[in-house]
Symmetry: D2
């Protein structure tokens, strides 16, 4: 079976946890628990700014938001594209939050990299090897989501694809796998967390929003992920989920996100891990 080498923790002595600095003073991995939050799609300047300010106040260390959206149907909202990138840049300027956004195509990387601090590879593209190679040649951190039916072995080999091109700043994100169960959108593979933490030195985040597809399950699964050893979370937040153009059912409101942060904090405390924060001087 093919093996991962660069991604492996296995060495003598074992490789310590990698930390990925995504902006001045913002690090993913290591002791602190990092929470990335924001809307599924960037839908407008105001909603984005409102969300960014809300999640920053609640303790998020980075803003997520889709500009180019991979949608199952060609007739569904595909994202605002370049206009969304401008809005993300503006939100970063105002709030100081670094930006995580998805890239779908090798030809988009330069454009997206002008704004993004972290290039996200979505679940559908986890085995899009030319895209993995392309972000492997960029100088941006990469947030790699597990494919819907990818084994952990395949997930780590996807990370290895990025790393073999020279970019070692890879952050893994478990986001649920596809099973027969229909009560949730996907099934969060909670065991993936301790397995990945043992197998690899890369930081491991969890996305409880996509894993469940239901807002009321996000906080319990966020708590579980922290307790299982995750290095952080990626969570969908929308100022008005009922009007969201995508994924409204799984988005938290800003007050619900604040509540989630308050609920996970003591679990992080049990593990003697602080919640990450963006230094005050970064934001206006």
């Amino acid at each position: 079976m093919p093996a991962y080498t660069l991604a492996s923790r296995d060495a003598s002595p074992p490789r310590p946890d990698t930390t990925v600095q995504i902006a001045d003073g913002v690090v993913i991995g290591g002791r602190a628990i990092s929470v990335i939050a924001g809307p599924c799609s960037v839908e407008g300047r105001d909603m984005l700014l409102q969300t960014a300010r809300g999640v920053r106040t609640a303790g998020a260390v980075a803003l997520r938001g889709g500009a180019f959206k991979p949608r199952t149907s060609p007739y569904a909202f595909q994202g605002l594209g370049e206009a969304a990138l401008d809005m993300l840049a503006h939100a970063r300027e105002v709030t100081g939050l670094p930006v995580v956004t998805e890239v779908l195509d090798p030809r988009q990387i330069d454009l997206v990299s002008r704004v993004a601090d972290v290039l996200q590879i979505g679940a559908r593209n986890m085995q899009n090897y030319s895209l993995l190679a392309a972000v492997g040649e960029s100088n941006k951190a990469v947030l790699l989501k597990r494919g819907m039916s990818a084994t952990l072995q395949e997930f780590l080999l996807a990370a290895e694809y990025v790393m073999t091109r020279g970019n070692h700043a890879v952050i893994l994100c478990e986001r649920g796998i596809r099973t027969f169960e229909t009560a949730t959108r996907n099934t969060l593979d909670i065991a993936a967390i301790p397995i990945l933490k043992r197998e690899t030195h890369l930081p491991v985040l969890v996305d409880p929003s996509h894993a469940t597809g239901k807002a009321h399950l996000v906080t319990p699964l966020a708590c579980a992920a922290i307790a299982a050893g995750a290095d952080g979370l990626m969570v969908e937040v929308h100022p008005n989920p009922e009007r969201a153009l995508s994924d409204g059912e799984q988005s938290l409101t800003i007050p619900q996100f604040d509540e989630m942060m308050r609920r996970i904090r003591p679990f992080a405390g049990v593990l003697d891990r602080p919640l990450g924060a963006v230094a005050l001087q970064r934001a206006s």
Copy 2:
């Protein structure tokens, strides 16, 4: 779609959490977190007593141990049968721990009930409706494990089968579902916990041993289960897992179980839930 009624939390006002008293002073469900522990199979009087004492000291509230084992192969060890029941009775007498053991056949219920405080229905029998009906007519508490490919809807309907026969003392146990992932024996469906807690008033336990099949994953998943709101755990413990006749790979040693208990305690504390304990006067 067929609906569960007796198992449902839905009522006006919503039904409160059911507590199941399995022995004098030992209750599953409610505020306390309850941990059931013991060997996969009862392999002998000494190993059972050693395990029972060890898990009791570490904080378990009940002893599990298989007398009749449902094994995939007819040539695998099938359990010690009636001799094991005697050993379980002895261990209970010595330690005061109530006994949880599996019943495979309606014709065994009377025999097993002489010793068991809780009748376990294993995952393979979750849709063995004549067995469900038979334990539904007994006066023992029932621990019902989720089938390997049962939806949560089907799981609750299995509980409903027991309850329609008059026995409402049903404890649910999530133990992992079958997926494509091969890194673990099963995939723990962590979202099942908050979903079940919302849908039903019955207590919800988690079995991290069967869910993962690997001892080193038991404690992280036990922590996650508590954080997600489980009412307790069922864990395999063996004095010498390398020599176990079944499931050795997933069994904790007694010191590892003690360590697990120490690790879950502060997570329970975050939720203001005590770990259950067996009253001192119960044991010699």
Copy 3:
């Protein structure tokens, strides 16, 4: 990994195909393709007789019909029980078709055996080992359905359970497995047919009704099963599927069943396999 021995084709020379005689002149396995048909549940004397006559005329060699039904909900129709057994006996007397019916409980075997020529073990009970052992001690042929999430290895080990008790008249039935796909009730594992034919000497049937859950898919999958090497089919037929008390959506009408038989016949012919038939003298 535990191995099957009695069920295995592996011997020197390899064991030839087993044929299971289920009644005078009615054999499952061997060169002929055998089709078993009838309603999901026996709902009444007239509907059963009408169906039995219809499927016999169309070429079925045995009548299936549930007397005791394993239903997901305790509130769903559970079968007519003993009354249904009488109806099955009557239909057999009139049509000469041997009877296949499910047994759910070891305590039912004597009762059901008075009428049944073949004891069916349903998918939910494939790992109900006490039931497997009990039918293994009976003198009736056993039709064993694959569990919804059973591997082929587990399926063969379930057959081995029956055979170790002395009953070697086991017929296997692939009926679909549980996957993420929601367009069908289950996913027919068509590769199971050549794998089982290679691994075991036991006859292999396919149930395209449960595999798909949709009547319009039954005939194409029946044709595929024959082409892949199946020894026969088990198909649900109802005189009026829209009024069926269970599984109406997947039942063929009698004319549709007749059409299915006409469609599979030339595929069997390609393989130089005749469709089985019940000798004329057997029926009134």
Copy 4:
């Protein structure tokens, strides 16, 4: 739920079967059964030519062969790239067989299109929407493989992505889905064939090589696919599978492929469908 429109058969009257002409005199879809065959990877000029001649003689209508290979590991053989394209062009010139080869990246389309008659989108890229859009803007036929865990709805929406860009020459290929079963590499979803033939007017092929991962299962599943109504097959053939650089276990030898063709022919005959053939004047 998002709907496919261009791919749908639903119209008044229902849309007839689409035929896709991939070269002069070579059509996929319609009455004839079309078989595409060739090596997983193009490994050299001689092996490719030998395979092309062999499969052409046996009745294949097109040659498949990977130049750019999507491999799970970055350390596995990734294909010969442009050199392989030259070899494919040469094999086409010599044998007259049109060429099907995979494209992994929008930036490769022009290069690959100089040689390919059909652009293949692999299973891992079924939801690589920028690649789908890019081939949708090309003037080449597209062979779209189902994703490993894609529902049929998602599969048809992926076809719709291509078609909305103006390219309606889309050929669908079922190649197995990921399940818990480990006896095969994937589980062929045989019901996908009649479902797709009912839902869409596009041609539907089946890849029994990837579906099973085992050479001895290819022919039985090829027969089943034809019987279920598939419009053709895509099969891996290698002159010496034991020395193949990829997928050797699932490749047929040239004589085995010839035998497969002889086995499927009478099944096609039952359906009154001829096996497609390349006109003699096309080849040297």
